[in-house]
């Protein structure tokens, strides 16, 4: 006990009476490392532990709560206490918990009771976690107690799944063997949750239930009755797990077959084939008795049709859980079967499947069927969307079929392939999921897949979503037809007014009834569009629309918010880097939009510059050949005929004479302008010119060549007069990029060097003077 830390006995005395801020301070001070001291065990810490136990044993909720918190802090930060006293703590906590669970309804009658219960459960759970990694403590403390704790948890999870299931899940995963006797009970509890109350829980709880259900299959329940013939095969570890997964999967086929009562599958040969090939594991070694009860669907009561999609939702979540959870062994997932399921679900589209002949065609039934089909498609998308991140590469062989089916989700107008925007509004959540899915898989797909019209349709839909929804549109468009009635009496007018209320706002201020999109939604759409632009070649029409949307909205938002949101910045970047078939990229617009914050990418494009260290690191030995190549290349670029004439080759040095002092690496444009001017041929020898401007040429060349070999090749193109050979090489240079340009240049250089030697000019005049880089750099930066 050092002088810094509060004496433990004092704290122990304080515990019972503190509350509020003081309690928080006490807890903080308990984390002090000073208390980790075995000598204290017998004296001070013993007192502390006793006090804590007294808190626990008291009947007061508040004291219990304090006790739990103190235990957690002590055990988390003090290994001494953990190892010595965790036993006692756990026992006490468990006793309390059991009592609370037994009288569950009275414990949660008050808010305080509920909080205490939550706290107790958490404390027990965390304590178990803390003990878990340490072998000795585990052996002595945890293992005997777990068999008592688990049933309590299971019992509580009936009422509080959100609270208990995380811990049960962890216990199932980590302490599988200990769990074995209780797994059936848990299974039954979960089955009840899945079948009866599933839809009343929130999304996180639903996921928890399905995950825990999947984990119950980690334990081998029923040892497989081994056939004598196949008895020698070793049983794989994932047998039970796979069994569960297949069971769930095979429940889907009957559902889709049920939909066959609504849609006429025989009209579409593909659909029939697909439904026939859906996974159905009725073979031997398989008990396919599902735990779901039979669906009760009555076509005379159309709304019962929604039970189909409700069931499908549960099955979907189960499949996702089975396939996405971490397991201690490798599992065999029937990807092909799942892909068929996804396809079948996506194909249930009202546009492409006719309804069955004998159906009563009343409005209610038809509208529910349409609604149902869009829900089923959404389920298909959800399944695809959740599996793609996990099994992405494995699904690639199935992508052509899956994406083909995915296209069906966009509603089209009757008879044509144009998108029906009114129905698109209805299935907005589904399309949102589709966008997310595509943002994920597009980068991995490459250009091998030509999915035709899916991309343009989705771009259209995405851009449609960005417009704010005007709810009164249908009212405004119908205004012409409704006001043609003649004048009515005063009495009628008054009664009408009472019935319709004050509708004038709808017509005078329609803009007040719009639903604007949130920022998150914009971010979402922008991410999708960015991925689309980067990874797909979309037709120019859509490219233009996206560009316009990006620029307009970015400008508006810039003015309103004084900055451009991040998603728009990414979209602008993608548009600048991938201009598609435009003649000129939107670089100037993007730069001016992002003037305040700046963007490194645009900085590099607008002002290409060498990183500072590179120039100094060129070894002197490499310099002469490089300079010689470059100077020869200058001559080659300027050569007008295949047969070199000295006069004509002076053009380039002369132009560079003009351009030399002024040109900087950045202003390639000015270089190009200079070269365009017609230069008179000179009688002087090239060598004198070259030797004068060697430094400048070399400087410019080195900086250009490293950064923008494209610029050089542009310069080459502009200097070259109409000569087929040069033009071809130039066009190839632009297309192929840096490596090829150097290769081509090298080839050309070789050809020309032969001719140069034939000219008879000696190499003596090509002595390269010593280049002192520091000075030149200084000049260069001016």
């Amino acid at each position: 006990m050092g002088a810094d830390s509060i004496p433990v006995s004092k704290i122990a005395n304080l515990l019972e009476s503190t509350s509020g801020y003081e309690f928080q301070a006490v807890l903080q001070s308990l984390t002090d490392a000073q208390y980790v001291n075995q000598q204290l065990l017998k004296s001070e810490l013993f007192i502390l532990v006793n006090r804590v136990l007294k808190l626990l044993r008291s009947g007061d909720d508040y004291l219990l709560w304090k006790g739990c918190n103190v235990i957690l802090v002590l055990c988390a930060y003090n290994p001494v206490i953990l190892c010595a006293h965790a036993d006692v703590f756990l026992k006490e906590l468990y006793l309390k918990l059991e009592k609370k669970v037994e009288y569950y309804s009275s414990s949660v009658s008050s808010e305080q009771g509920r909080i205490v219960l939550t706290n107790l459960v958490h404390t027990v759970g965390y304590l178990i976690d803390l003990i878990r990694g340490k072998p000795a403590v585990t052996r002595e403390v945890l293992t005997p107690k777990l068999s008592a704790i688990i049933p309590t948890f299971i019992k509580l999870s009936q009422y509080e799944p959100r609270l208990c299931l995380p811990f049960l899940k962890k216990l199932l995963y980590k302490n599988t063997n200990t769990f074995r006797p209780f797994v059936n009970k848990l299974y039954n509890v979960l089955v009840i949750l899945l079948t009866k109350d599933y839809q009343s829980f929130d999304v996180a709880t639903k996921r928890l239930i399905c995950d825990t259900f999947a984990y119950t299959h980690l334990i081998k329940l029923n040892p497989q009755t081994k056939n004598s013939s196949s008895g020698h095969h070793s049983v794989r570890k994932d047998e039970q797990y796979r069994h569960g997964l297949l069971l769930v999967l095979s429940q889907i086929r009957p559902l889709i077959t049920l939909c066959g009562e609504l849609f006429d599958f025989s009209a579409d040969f593909e659909m029939e084939r697909l439904v026939a090939s859906l996974p159905d594991y009725q073979g031997e070694n398989f008990n396919s008795v599902g735990f779901f009860e039979a669906l009760d669907v009555d076509m005379n009561k159309p709304f019962t049709l929604w039970r189909i999609s409700e069931r499908l939702d549960v099955l979907n979540n189960l499949i996702i859980s089975f396939c996405s959870l971490a397991t201690p062994f490798a599992i065999r997932v029937p990807i092909g079967g799942i892909s068929k399921v996804i396809q079948a679900l996506l194909n249930l589209s009202v546009d492409y499947l006719p309804l069955k002949r004998g159906l009563r065609r009343d409005a209610e039934l038809l509208s529910v069927i349409e609604n149902l089909s869009s829900k089923m498609q959404h389920e298909g998308v959800k399944l695809f969307q959740n599996l793609a991140p996990i099994y992405g590469r494995c699904l690639i062989p199935f992508y052509p079929e899956l994406l083909g089916s995915l296209e069906l989700i966009v509603p089209t107008r009757k008879g044509s392939t144009n998108v029906d925007f009114q129905r698109v509004k209805k299935i907005r959540p589904a399309l949102k999921d589709v966008f997310e899915l595509l943002s994920h898989i597009l980068p991995a797909m490459g250009r091998f897949f030509d999915d035709g019209s899916l991309a343009p349709k989705l771009v259209d839909v995405a851009l449609h979503f960005t417009k704010s929804m005007n709810l009164t549109l249908s009212l405004l468009s119908g205004i012409d037809q409704s006001d043609k009635k003649g004048g009515s009496n005063k009495k009628d007018k008054k009664s009408n007014k009472r019935l319709t209320g004050s509708m004038s706002d709808v017509f005078s201020h329609p803009e007040a009834f719009t639903i604007e999109n949130s920022f998150e939604f914009y971010a979402f759409i922008n991410e999708f569009l960015t991925t689309m632009i980067r990874h797909k070649s979309i037709p120019s029409n859509h490219h233009v629309k996206i560009t316009r949307y990006a620029i307009q909205n970015a400008t508006v938002l810039n003015e309103q918010l004084n900055y451009v949101p991040a998603s728009f910045r990414d979209l602008l970047r993608a548009l600048v880097l991938c201009p598609g078939s435009e003649r000129c990229s939107i670089l100037p617009m993007a730069v001016s939009l992002l003037k305040k914050t700046g963007d490194e990418l645009y900085g590099v494009i607008c002002n290409p510059r060498l990183p500072l260290g590179v120039v100094h690191s060129i070894a002197p030995a490499q310099l002469p050949e490089y300079a010689e190549d470059q100077s020869l290349e200058d001559n080659n670029a300027s050569s007008t005929n295949e047969s070199l004439s000295l006069e004509e080759t002076t053009e380039v040095p002369a132009t560079e004479q003009n351009g030399g002092p002024d040109a900087t690496p950045a202003t390639s444009h000015s270089q190009c302008e200079i070269i365009e001017t017609h230069v008179e041929t000179q009688e002087e020898s090239i060598e004198n010119e070259l030797s004068k401007h060697r430094d400048k040429i070399f400087k410019r060349r080195s900086s250009d060549a490293d950064i923008k070999t494209e610029e050089v090749s542009v310069k080459v193109a502009k200097v070259a007069r109409d000569y087929d050979v040069l033009e071809e090489i130039v066009s190839e240079q632009i297309d192929n990029g840096a490596e090829d340009t150097i290769a081509e240049r090298a080839v050309f250089v070789e050809q020309q060097t032969e001719r140069r030697e034939a000219d008879g000019d000696s190499d003596s005049d090509f002595e390269i003077p010593e280049i002192v880089l520091e000075e030149d750099d200084g000049e260069d930066e001016e």
């Binding site: 030509d450 468009s477 316009r548 435009e582 003649r583 502009k718």
Partner: protein, 378 residues
Amino acid sequence: MAKKKTLKQQDFQKKKLKVGKAKQGPSNLTDTSFVAKTILLPNQTKLSSAERSSGTRKSGQQELEQSVIKRLSLCKHHSAITRKETLVHFKQQVPKIAHSGCMTQIMHACYPMMCDDDRQVREALLEMIDEVGQYNCDVLRLNCRAFVLFLSSAMTHILSPVQRDCGKFLACGLKYFADELTRNSWIKLLRGMFGVLGWPLKAESPERNGNGNNGNRQPKKSVSMAISSASVVNMNSARAKHARAINIDALHLLIKCGCLELVMRDDPQPDEHSAAAHNKYLIPECPQPYEHLKIFAREIQDLDDINQSASSLQDLVSVSFQDASSRRKVVLHYFYDDIMSQVATLIADGGESGKSANSLKLLMDEVQVRESESEQQV
């Protein structure tokens, strides 16, 4: 004798209507008739030149420009000879003023003469445009929209000679600024040329049942005025046939420039307009590079497509055709069948038109090949 009426009853008395005379108007009638008169001042110069003459020194160039501008009003002279003379004068002045600022004004004044009645005026205009293109084709590029406007009005003109000359103007335009033309007004030009040649378009008919194949119903043909009754007499004249060959050649050139991504001119100057030398991040070579984005233009938006458009081709007017691939697709989808059927009959007839038709047919095959190649590449 009428009874004397009280004042109150007099208010409600109506005047008797008299035969042959108009009904008497109400007592508070305001006469809103007016007389309009026009004054012609043929000898007065344009007002804008008055500003320019306020400068102290006039260089020879400025004088030249002013004299040219003074003549601009002559473009609307009632006499065809005067108009022709004006155009010839302009053509002579072009080498000197090709890069000056008055060129836009001149072009805007001259383009309407594409729809002129007189043949010689049109020929003179053609030569002038050619001359301008040789010296400064950027002016033509800049005024591309005006060019297309008047060209399309000429293509749908009621006078058949005006229509027949369209091909020459189109060919001239394609020679100098094919890029702009094909990018901005692809559908318009194609439809116009079909109208000029008198070929009906199946795609013009509204799709009711939505089938792309309208074979069962009689398609509503797009009637071109070139085959109106007045001109039936001279449909087979030599001039008409020659014009038809020229128009087919113009169509051929249009499709070639639009679909096959070729460079039009071989410049003795460094080839700034070719795609190879064109770097998208440098300062653009073409004028108005962002015009197609229509950022500042407000487009008419149909309310959620409540009304279906009249024809499928009409939908495409608002679609931008910046890339050759979509142009090719449109040609192959909407125009290919019609071209092939018409071309077959023309080839059978033979003669000048037959030759042009044959080359057009070969071109269409090449476009198809190119499209399938590019699809495979993607």
